[in-house]
């Protein structure tokens, strides 16, 4: 076993200008001068415990950030395989495999696992994203020793019982049926299909389709698990009230006997072809009181060199309460409870999308405002707006490291996307370095509304004429059943 240390976030001094005002402490209780906002003191740097690193005898890397505020420990086993690794025609395999891990493992049944986890006051969650799968344990530190063998069984020795697979399969099929009445749940699926199509992995939801769900066997799940869940393809991420000296023997006991079966080959999903012409899809949900709108196209991968520029760009456009989209659709027009946008960054390019739920009788007006803002973002951004967005991201950064869960989530991001060691240490400086010219250039390149796919789930009879009158592009209308892949 080897141990090495480094600082996650060195005590770098943050130098940030907020309206040019920086000063020290106030003089004490004096009359409040409300003629202008009080001056801000100097921002403080975040001091975090170092990330300690070790390796178990089987090669499994262990990362630990200590945090002794509350007697809890978070242990996440991250496996570098997710829905992006689903074979063609088998969409949903990774997601179902992850969901089945705690439905029988080692010598324990699903009910025994649940009983023991709950009795320990622990939470043991299994799940997956497009890029990774994970088993995540949160437990009072006094029960860590009892919980780790359970976690190891679930991650390493799942048994995939047939009857449990059939139960989860029915749950997922039923959830798909329920989506037919739920505009907010249906619109992301319909939007993904409109941008990526039926063949690309990102064009179908993580759980797959009715057809793929019905076809999975326990052998399929066991094979996916055996091929992907290997110590050479995983990272153990720990945060909380524990030291490496106390932790390592326990991890070695629980996970050390897990052997690699051979190298794990991973091919990223090929980037989808970019959209070249605008389109509008109306999914008819008669009598819907709101229209759920999503619009966008193929965005960027997590390793984009424009990562920091796009963080700032999206904060201005639709990534904060004062963003242009939310101010326009919610505050200025009252069409919506809230509007937003985001770049969904994965190992391969995921979508860029903007969206909102808007009242049915303002659907066309809301769409017009979406296009106004999405077109407008390519014009130069003013200094004040740029500074606000950069400070929102940079000064708010320390708050993202408060809980054991926060810490492990950030470490997972480092592991899954193989980010450089100094990613968090240099985050603030990288955000502050973004210029207005970079934002404009990125907007011109990554946000071209004329080529966007627009999907609206709503009451077709009431919204179709207004949408057509906008003249945004060809309009296609489909039923809810047609929208569900």
């Amino acid at each position: 076993m080897t141990v090495s240390s480094r600082f996650l976030l060195p005590a770098a001094t943050l130098v940030v200008l907020i309206g040019g005002l920086m000063t020290g402490l106030p003089r004490g209780p004096v009359a409040a001068d409300r003629s202008r906002p009080p001056r801000l003191g100097s921002p403080q740097a975040l001091h975090l415990s170092p990330v300690a690193r070790a390796t178990l005898s089987n090669g499994l890397p262990v990362w630990l950030v200590e945090s002794h505020e509350v007697p809890l420990v978070q242990v996440n086993l991250v496996v570098h395989a997710g829905s992006a690794d689903d074979p063609a025609g088998r969409f949903g395999l990774a997601s179902l495999t992850a969901a089945m891990l705690d439905e029988g493992a080692g010598g324990r049944t699903a009910l025994q696992i649940a009983d023991e986890v709950e009795y320990l006051g622990a939470s043991l969650a299994t799940g997956s994203s497009f890029d990774a799968s994970a088993v995540r344990l949160n437990v009072p530190v006094s029960r860590l020793g009892a919980a780790l063998p359970l976690m190891a069984d679930v991650a390493v020795r799942p048994t995939f019982p047939e009857d449990e697979l059939n139960r989860l399969r029915q749950e997922r099929l039923t959830a798909l049926i329920q989506t037919k009445s739920d505009a907010a749940a249906l619109v992301p699926l319909a939007f993904a299909r409109a941008v990526f199509g039926p063949e690309h992995r990102f064009g179908t939801g993580a759980v797959g389709t009715e057809a793929t769900l019905k076809a999975f066997t326990t052998a399929d799940l066991a094979a996916f698990h055996a091929a992907r869940f290997q110590p050479s393809n995983a990272t153990l991420i720990v945060s909380g009230d524990v030291t490496m000296a106390a932790l390592l023997p326990r991890l070695e006991e629980a996970f050390g006997g897990w052997k690699s079966q051979g190298p794990v080959a991973r091919a990223d999903v090929p980037p989808a072809p970019q959209l070249t012409a605008g389109s509008i899809t109306i999914v008819d949900m008669p009598s819907a009181e709101q229209s759920q709108i999503r619009l966008g196209w193929v965005g960027v991968a997590r390793d984009t060199p424009d990562y920091f520029v796009l963080q700032v760009l999206n904060t201005i456009l639709g990534g904060s309460f004062t963003s242009r989209l939310n101010q326009n659709l919610r505050e200025a027009h009252g069409y919506s409870y809230g509007a937003s946008s985001r770049f969904d960054m994965r190992r391969s390019p995921g979508p860029f999308l903007a969206g909102a739920g808007v009242q049915t009788d303002k659907t066309a007006e809301a769409l017009r405002e979406f296009f106004n803002e999405l077109n407008g973002i390519s014009k130069p951004v003013g200094a004040e707006e740029l500074t606000k967005a950069k400070n929102y991201l940079a000064l708010g950064f320390p708050a993202e490291f408060e809980t054991t869960d926060d810490l492990s989530e950030h470490l997972e991001e480092l592991a899954v996307y193989r980010l450089p060691d100094d990613f968090f240490a240099s985050y603030v400086a990288n955000i502050q370095a973004v210029t207005a010219d970079q934002v404009r250039a990125a907007a011109e390149r990554y946000i071209r509304p004329g080529s966007f796919a627009v999907v609206v789930v709503g009451d077709r009879a009431k919204i179709e004429p207004g949408i057509r009158a906008l003249g945004l592009g060809p309009v296609r209308t489909i039923s809810v059943d047609e929208a569900l892949p």
Partner: protein
Amino acid sequence: MRRRTALILLVLTAVSLGAQAPDRPIHVAYRQFTLANGLNVILHRDSSVPVVAVNVWYHVGSANERPGRTGFAHLFEHLMFEGSKHVKEGEFDTLLEAAGGDNNGSTTNDRTNYVIDVPANALELALYLESDRMGYLLDTMSPQRVDGQRDVVKNERRQSYENQPYGMASIEIDKMLWPEGHPYNWPVIGYMEDLTAASYDDVVRFFKQYYAPGNASLVVAGDIDLVRTQALVQKWFGEIPAGPPVPPVTAPPAELTSVRRKTLTDRVQLPRLYLAWITPKIFAPGDAALDVASSVLAGGKNSRIYKRLVYDEQIAQDVSAYQASAALGSSFQIVATARPGHTADELQKAIDEEIARLKQAPPDAREVQRAINQMEASFYRRLERVGGFYGKANQLNQYYMSANGNPDFFAQDLGRYTSLTASDVQAAIARWLPSDARVELVVEPETNR
């Protein structure tokens, strides 16, 4: 100037647990004082990360509303972010974001809360903004601002109720559960026609009646200097005039004496059953036992109803149970969604059998201990964060408002659970979950697909 100051400093929280079980009491150290205008202030220092939470509770919620103006407390909450005398419209959010902060608010039957989370260096900005809307909201209020947020709130209602599968059920259950005239009879979000009727004059009256310092409690928690923060609170909030006393909400007695049953149709795919009872109010005897009962009934794969309906028989897609604790009376609800081909009546029959079993014989000791251990761990998880809706700042205000003015009620609250026995849980189910006096609501699909 009269200033009352109560200093209460307790031991800090870092508790290292013994090898067997967490057994040391949880403490959250705080300093408490009251300004001359009646504002209650609680300070808590936690310097683990350089952030500060400013959390205000006003002791007003939808229970204070008058007929014809339901939803007003929540609509008013929205107006609190739209600017005040010295803060232009939009500046509240702009100034906070430019300082790296976030903010939010929420309204329940009993209270309205406001949260501001900022980097520690922006503490005074947060106090300035929070105090300006407490003292000077009406100076720049206008009918146009009311109209703007009226539209937003109507869209909040459409998104969370009308356009949400089963979204109208909770509104119907409140109507059936609480008698006409009881302040919990109407929804916090309000009726659409009442939102339409809300006026600028209502805003003025409501602010003057309920938004005085004496009806509020301020918590400042996080990476703060206690002495300096106390001075800053005095500086920004001290000048706000005291308001009139707020009379406590009174409620007519609420008791169900028979089954009240109704069927709604909605744009949903599957039938769903709701069972609801009126139960003891927050922190009253029976409240904690019913929390544990909800876990024994429907918390996890081994719970009685979940295991039978979802795991074994697979006639339900999901089931949940919870005790919704509130100041004037709580409600206990069991909710289950039928699998395709099954009915709400099937679910009800099986649920009733499981409840009856627990009335006849107590749950196993392990079933109860499992629930208590989960509850205990949740107390630790709640101590990790300072800000937001669930962090320590909000919990200090919650306990102050609902536990006889005691902000550090954490250990006593947990003690309510750890002292429970299986027969306590059995007794609570027998006493509070009768099958012949409750609400039964079924939501059916509009058409059979």
